[in-house]
């Protein structure tokens, strides 16, 4: 089978994987090597449905010997099978990279016989890429549960990021839908990766603060914001002392992915799970993938079920709020109301439920409080704090600071003054937001969340 045909089959087979980011590690170029990694990542193209393409994302093989119910490549499915040679895939990566099509390779595979046999093939491919073709760009490798620890270790030394997919939000769902996998098998490599990274961090010197880190809280507004920064760099989350650039094992950390909407777990449960994963395994990202009903199977929703896109989006927003705004899962989807509001975003929903905490005073509010105002993000909040040292701010000043006031207006007072045209009326706010939900503000949030793209100023 020629490379062209294989590429079609194996890209098709990998497209359900939503994680496609190259961010999280900055690596300088090295003499004689091709490429580098920039911590902000770079989206080189977008699919017709608007997902960012950053990496060459394919399966090494779709000839899988497992039988996960939801998967198009499962053993019992009748699809055309193909397997790349390591050389072929490595050459493709380099050819695409040099043309500025991609930032690197996302390497994943169906189970070729056994997890270990598959891992060995992946390692072979990455060795050709890293050593033979001297590729210094980004590599993400997916670990199959059950892979031997020494092979996980070898992959971690060739890749920037590793991921072990949780697949489903609960143990029982996993047992029903993935008969060949079990929760312990998934947790083992996750723990190994966490421990290996922690171990390496202990032996690394602390890196001096980057410009972005110097704007960690408490932000006093004494110096101007950098010209170019990324939202994620401005978070309230504590950072680890050892940055990624000196690490040799999985410098960009690990992530995971789970399918939502194939099984009955509610949003509160998923957010709780997501938070405990961040804490327990020091994950960089949890990706949610809206279930696409492609397989006819009685254990799964019927094939005509709409894809829960809106829900996926709200979960990403909620996850974002937990990671970067210090929200807790129960603030976003309460145990009594365990589903996120699909009409409005979770931050606004929280604000409307907690209307007694508003309005927030622009001249006095802390960074944390400003960031809880619907419409104000980490950069906007810092811009306000910087500007208010020089001057009593009014609504026009906020506009000059490039802060989107559409929503925020309702929740702010400027030196004691409210905007009389924008009362704190939950019903009114909700109606207005729902009305212009089809407008483009929806897009920019999504971009920030999905692509981790740098925001300017």
């Amino acid at each position: 089978m020629d490379t062209y045909t294989k590429l079609g089959i194996l890209a098709e087979a990998a497209k359900y994987d939503v994680a496609c980011t190259s961010s999280g590690v900055g690596r300088l170029p090295q003499a004689g090597k091709l490429g580098m990694a920039s911590s902000a990542g770079c989206c080189h193209s977008f699919t017709p449905d608007g997902r960012c393409i950053t990496l060459l994302k394919v399966l090494l093989s779709n000839a899988c010997s497992y039988d996960c119910a939801y998967c198009a490549n499962r053993r019992s499915a009748s699809v055309q099978r193909a397997t790349f040679t390591g050389r072929e895939l490595a050459e493709l990566t380099v050819d695409f990279y040099k043309r500025n099509y991609i930032e690197g390779l996302f390497l994943s595979s169906g189970v070729l016989g056994t997890p270990d046999a598959t891992a060995e093939r992946m390692i072979e491919c990455l060795r050709i890429l890293r050593r033979g073709l001297r590729f210094n760009g980004y590599v993400h490798a997916k670990i199959i549960p059950g892979t031997a620890p020494e092979l996980v270790d070898a992959l971690g030394r060739l890749a920037d990021r590793l991921s072990v997919n949780l697949e489903l939000p609960s143990r029982s769902s996993l047992e029903t839908l993935c008969p060949d996998k079990n929760a312990a098998q998934i947790a083992r490599p996750m723990a190994q990766i966490r421990d290996a990274r922690a171990d390496e961090a202990m032996h690394l010197p602390t890196e001096s603060a980057t410009p972005a880190e110097r704007f960690q809280k408490p932000y006093d507004g004494a110096s101007p914001l950098p010209l170019r920064t990324s939202g994620p760099a401005l978070t309230l989350r504590p950072r680890t002392a050892a940055g990624p650039s000196r690490r040799s094992f999985a410098p960009a950390g690990q992530s995971t992915q789970l399918i939502i909407g194939a099984t009955p777990e509610d949003d509160n449960r998923i957010l709780q799970l997501s938070r405990s994963l961040y804490e327990q395994f020091d994950l960089k990202r949890v990706f949610f993938s809206a279930y696409l009903p492609i397989m006819d199977d009685e254990r799964l929703p019927a094939c005509d079920t709409p894809v829960p896109l809106r829900r996926e989006h709200r979960l990403y927003q909620a996850d974002w709020l937990m990671r970067y705004y210090a929200f807790s899962p129960d603030e976003l989807a309460t145990p009594d109301e365990p589903w996120l509001d699909l009409e409005i975003d979770p931050k606004l929903a929280w604000a409307l439920r907690n209307i007694d905490r508003f309005p927030v005073e622009v001249m006095e509010a802390s960074l944390e409080l400003l960031m809880r105002v619907p419409g104000i993000g980490p950069i906007g909040a810092r811009r306000i704090i910087g500007a208010r040292r020089a001057k009593r701010l009014d609504f026009d000043d906020l506009k000059a600071l490039n802060i989107t006031l559409k929503r925020a207006r309702h929740f702010l007072s400027c030196a004691g003054k409210r905007d009389p045209a924008s009362p704190l009326d939950p019903e009114l706010v909700r109606r207005k937001v729902v009305e212009d939900a089809r407008a483009s503000s929806y897009n920019s949030t999504r971009c920030r969340i999905e692509a981790n793209q740098p925001r300017l100023f």
């Binding site: 062209y4 590429l7 608007g50 110096s223 971009c447």
Partner: protein
């Protein structure tokens, strides 16, 4: 630009650097350190790359203000002159990002790489360093036929030479089509990957708006091989490295 003007501009630039540094907490030895990535001074350079007709006046207003108030300019973010300059700089930075995202290189018959890109601001001087880091091992040229600027890089060099071209030369460079025989195959592979990634049930119709066009502005589409219908067929020639597979 003639020599005198250059010298003059350089003088103003330097003067401004030390003027805003007076009293600035991040200044080093009386000069703007660039440690905060030079928001006060560097952003003028970005703003100057904007195509907007209002640019020269806006820059002038900002520079005068900066000379008047010194380091206080850093906190005057709500001042109209500052806000206007910030707006221009932001616009150019956005266009720089798009250049990094959507410039597409082709392998030429002589083994070097060429990309022609038409940004809405003069971005090549700002992104040249990025491509030099990314493609250090290659000989390449990134040309902007709109602003008649090119970044030239020799294999192994740490940086690019950025040069101003005359219109005819810029156009001729951008139009070079002596691509390597590999090129067709690799472009076809890329389009194949792109086409395979499309998912049903998530498109503009289900979503209610066209997310792709908002991330990837249509003005770039003509130059993206993944959207080029001509890249649909690999042809008979297969590069040697893909033959054994």
């Amino acid at each position: 630009m003639d020599e005198c003007m250059l010298a003059l501009a350089d003088r103003v630039w330097r003067g401004l650097g030390s003027s805003v540094a007076k009293g600035c907490p991040s200044a080093r030895r009386g000069r703007c350190s660039g440690r905060c990535e030079g928001a006060c001074v560097t952003k003028i350079a970005y703003a100057c790359a904007a195509d907007e007709p209002s640019m020269p006046e806006a820059v002038h207003r900002y520079v005068r203000l900066a000379f008047n108030v010194g380091s206080a300019i850093a906190t005057m973010t709500t001042h109209p002159a500052v806000a206007e300059l910030d707006g221009l700089a932001r616009l150019v930075l956005g266009e720089c990002e798009r250049t990094r995202q959507f410039a597409r290189f082709s392998l030429l018959a002589d083994g070097s790489y060429l990309a022609s890109f038409k940004p809405k601001a003069n971005t090549v001087p700002f992104v040249a360093a990025h491509f030099a880091r990314r493609m250090g091992t290659e000989r390449f040229c990134l040309v902007d036929p709109v602003h008649c600027v090119a970044a030239l890089h020799e294999a192994g060099d740490r940086r690019c030479h950025v040069i101003q071209l005359d219109q005819a030369l810029a156009a001729a460079l951008a139009a070079r089509d002596d691509v390597s025989p590999d090129e067709r195959y690799v472009r076809t592979m890329w389009k194949r990957l792109y086409d395979s990634l499309a998912l049903d049930g998530r498109g503009p119709d289900e979503r209610g708006y066209d997310l792709r066009a908002s991330w990837m502005p249509k003005r770039f589409w003509d130059d993206l091989p993944e959207l080029d219908p001509r890249a649909g067929n690999p042809g008979a020639y297969v590069p040697e490295r893909y033959q054994s597979a």
